[in-house]
């Protein structure tokens, strides 16, 4: 006789970094179905932005996520620069690229550690955390902060890369080339880690396309998608970036957790290469177009229109859409789409057929950032909110819903209710 029962993983769970609930339907240890319910930490951050000036929103946008804080800030800034036609000096662009790569390095190192912790491999977790300290130190040296850097501003960056800092960064790159390889070998060649990660949480190439996966999750399923190559921004126009896909290294794509691990680990090396190229090609000149923030604010007050910023954050593509209204001090409308939202819809698919023991690892495998994601809840009519799994939202359905939402907004008048 086979009976299924349902247990929750989350919202607060040791294996999860942030609160999200996965209701798992189990038959013994095997997962027969899953229902993912976000909504525990919705913060209404976009609403808060409507009472702040664009400069203040930079610092608000950094607080969307602690790990990819620079990505969010830069994405917002690029959206505003897009609508206000602000230009950025070449040195500013290079420094932005450097910080982006430092952030990617630190995000991937953190994730690798947490993934090891999830499979009970505490030693590798501590090793990963120890490795991560060095890049945090460099970020602190560059920006004065370890988490929310506060380095990005309209038309450039706030701090320059001094020769001493460049030297320290080069030393850091050498440190990682030397010290990261043992960590990679410990984890990727460990039989137990291999047994826990191979063929777990498989997302096939077709499903990755169908459910709009982005970033390392999509690349681990074999898709050659990387905004740094597909639509280059900042210094990536000068520095060619090749998407890291598992088939180039293993000869075959499994689309499982080990592939996601491998993609992130190999991207660490790629980041080190990019950082080296950025430091080699760092142009002379100013690093910010207009250092006087009052002048920037005055010009932004006159700006009107919709701006769009999209960059490749460590977890996937990050989109910010900003609307400013001429004569208004504050941001009129702001929409954030974090990569976790795109990747989380494939969770129920990854769960099915795996075991309860794999569930936290599968949740963590897309490197979820629930705080980034929780900007929108889908309600299915009877007040039952969450990402609905009995019918998983497919790409077509999502596009349809987005269009419907746009039509609704247009019918009500732009930007929802007028303030």
């Amino acid at each position: 006789m086979s009976t299924t029962y349902t247990i929750p993983v989350g919202p607060v769970h040791v294996g999860l970094k942030e609160p999200v609930t996965a209701w798992l339907e189990l038959d013994g240890e095997r997962i027969m179905g899953a229902k993912v319910r976000p909504g525990a930490i919705h913060r209404g951050i976009e609403f808060m932005a409507r009472e702040r000036s664009p400069i203040q929103v930079i610092y608000l946008s950094e607080r969307i996520c602690g790990i990819c804080s620079f990505s969010h800030a830069l994405c917002f800034i690029r959206a505003v620069e897009d609508l206000a036609n602000l230009s950025v000096p070449a040195r500013g662009q290079y420094i932005r690229t450097l910080v982006l790569e430092l952030e990617r390095l630190h995000s991937h190192l953190l994730w690798s550690g947490v993934a090891c912790y999830t499979i009970g491999f505490d030693s590798a977790f501590h090793l990963g955390m120890q490795l991560r300290e060095r890049v945090m130190d460099i970020l602190e040296l560059l920006t004065g902060n370890r988490v929310n850097y506060g380095v990005a501003t309209f038309g450039g960056v706030r701090w320059d890369v001094t020769p001493e800092l460049a030297k320290a960064t080069r030393e850091m790159i050498r440190y990682y080339r030397r010290e990261f390889t043992p960590f990679r070998e410990i984890v990727m060649e460990d039989p137990v880690a291999h047994a826990r990660m191979r063929n777990v949480g498989v997302l096939s190439r077709d499903d990755a396309v169908r459910y709009s996966a982005t970033g390392p999750t999509a690349r681990a399923s074999g898709l050659r998608v990387d905004l740094r190559k597909n639509s280059p921004y900042e210094a990536y126009a000068d520095i060619p970036v090749e998407p890291v896909v598992p088939q180039d290294y293993f000869g075959k794509t499994h689309g499982d957790v080990l592939d996601r691990f491998a993609v992130r680990v190999l991207e660490v090396y790629q980041s080190l290469d990019i950082m080296e190229k950025v430091l080699d090609g760092l142009p002379e000149g100013s690093f910010v177009a207009e250092p006087n923030l009052n002048k920037v604010l005055a010009s932004l007050k006159k700006a009107e229109g919709t701006g769009w910023g999209i960059i490749e954050a460590p977890r996937g593509d990050n989109t910010h859409i900003v609307r400013l209204k001429g004569g208004d001090d504050n941001v009129f409308w702001w929409k954030v789409r974090a990569p976790t939202y795109a990747n989380a819809v494939s969770w129920p698919l990854m769960f099915c057929g795996n075991e309860l023991a794999d569930a936290p690892l599968i949740i963590n495998s897309i490197d979820p950032c629930i705080s980034c994601m929780e900007r929108m809840l889908v309600t299915n009519g009877n007040g039952d909110s969450g990402i609905v799994t009995s019918g998983i939202i497919t790409k077509e359905e999502l596009v349809g819903r987005c269009r419907q939402k746009t039509f609704d907004i247009q019918a009500r008048g732009l930007g929802g209710t007028e303030r």
Partner: protein, 334 residues
């Protein structure tokens, strides 16, 4: 009169030994945590941290979930502690005979070790929490997997002791403590014994729920599973049992395979030598615990339950059967 005196002496020795092993087990766990931390390039807690933890938990409220089977939920921690402690009454320490050595043998020790897992599972099932139920199910599955190689090891050792004419009862631990089994076998037999030794030490993490086999408690999967609903004194008792279980099986392995002692090396007896043997015994236990519990749990991640089961039923059982065959050949050839 003598019988009553012996009874009192035994009660006194038993109580003293139990008090000693509880303190020693907690200290060993403290050392285990420090060594584990050092291997991970951390500082780690102070040596007495497990004792502080127990003292703190003793003063906390004992919460029983509404849906729990109250009687079994409360009984399970006490039973686990008692069976974990009882193991030591049947294990000879150094040159000192076991307190109740004449009343039980290896088979009883195996039952007591298995009983510890069973009572834990009982508490898990009684708590009425689905996560604890999963943990209890995993504990039972794991136990069914490692009991098979364990049984092969024990029966083979007893058979070898019987056939090679070691003095004493073949199933008695005193027999193995008094004379090293490595001395009674030939070259093939030594190899076979080594296989049995390896099988037994692979059972250690499973038996103790540590290292790659911490599946029933798996913190990041099922939130400490079995003990999720326990708190206060109940949890303190379980923590003591968790410290005692690796200690008990390490002592068991020591008696069976590493019976080397000063008295057997020097060929002399006496109370002073016996005291040294007693200390040396705990040092050997500590070494075994460091290698097969601390090192194993540092070096490996956690397996899944079917992987652990497969490991025990296929690989470890295969190893123990190979050991058994080699020993049979050795005994039959000679």
């Amino acid at each position: 009169m003598t019988a009553i005196f012996t009874l009192f002496l035994k009660i006194f020795a038993g109580v003293a030994l139990m008090a000693l092993v509880v303190v020693l087990a907690l200290l060993f766990e403290g050392a285990d945590r420090i060594v584990h931390a050092k291997m991970q390039r951390r500082v780690g807690p102070p040596l007495f941290q497990p004792i502080y933890d127990i003292l703190k938990l003793m003063g906390k409220e004992n919460i029983v979930p509404r849906r729990a089977a109250r009687f079994f939920f409360g009984l399970a921690p006490w039973l686990t502690l008692v069976v974990s402690l009882m193991v030591f009454l049947y294990i000879p320490t150094g040159s000192f005979p076991a307190v109740l050595g004449t009343e039980g043998d290896m088979i009883l020790v195996i039952y007591l070790l298995a009983m510890g897992g069973l009572t834990l599972a009982l508490g898990g099932f009684a708590s009425g929490n689905p996560i604890a139920n999963i943990g209890a199910g995993r504990e039972i599955t794991l136990m069914m997997s490692y009991e098979f190689p364990l049984a092969i090891v024990i029966s083979t050792l007893a058979w070898v002791a019987y056939r090679s004419g070691m003095p004493g009862s073949p199933f008695s631990l005193e027999t193995f403590a008094a004379m090293s089994i490595w001395k009674v076998v030939g070259k093939i037999g030594t190899f076979g014994l080594f296989c049995l030794f390896l099988s037994l030490v692979f059972v250690v993490p499973g038996e103790t729920g540590k290292g790659p086999m911490d599946i029933p408690e798996a913190k990041t999967e099922i939130l400490d599973g079995l003990i999720i609903e326990y708190s206060g004194v109940n949890l303190a008792l379980l923590k003591v049992s968790f410290a005692l279980r690796p200690f008990a099986i390490a002592a068991f392995v020591t008696v069976l395979f590493v019976p080397v002692s000063f008295s057997s090396l020097l060929g002399v007896g006496g109370f002073i030598i016996a005291i040294f043997d007693f200390l040396f015994f705990w040092i050997k236990v500590f070494a075994i615990q460091m290698v097969f519990v601390t090192w194993m749990r540092t070096a490996f991640g956690r397996l899944k339950i079917w992987q652990a089961s497969q490991f025990y039923i296929v690989k470890v059982a295969g190893l123990s059967i190979a050991g058994m065959l080699l020993l049979s050949i050795d005994v039959l050839v000679r």
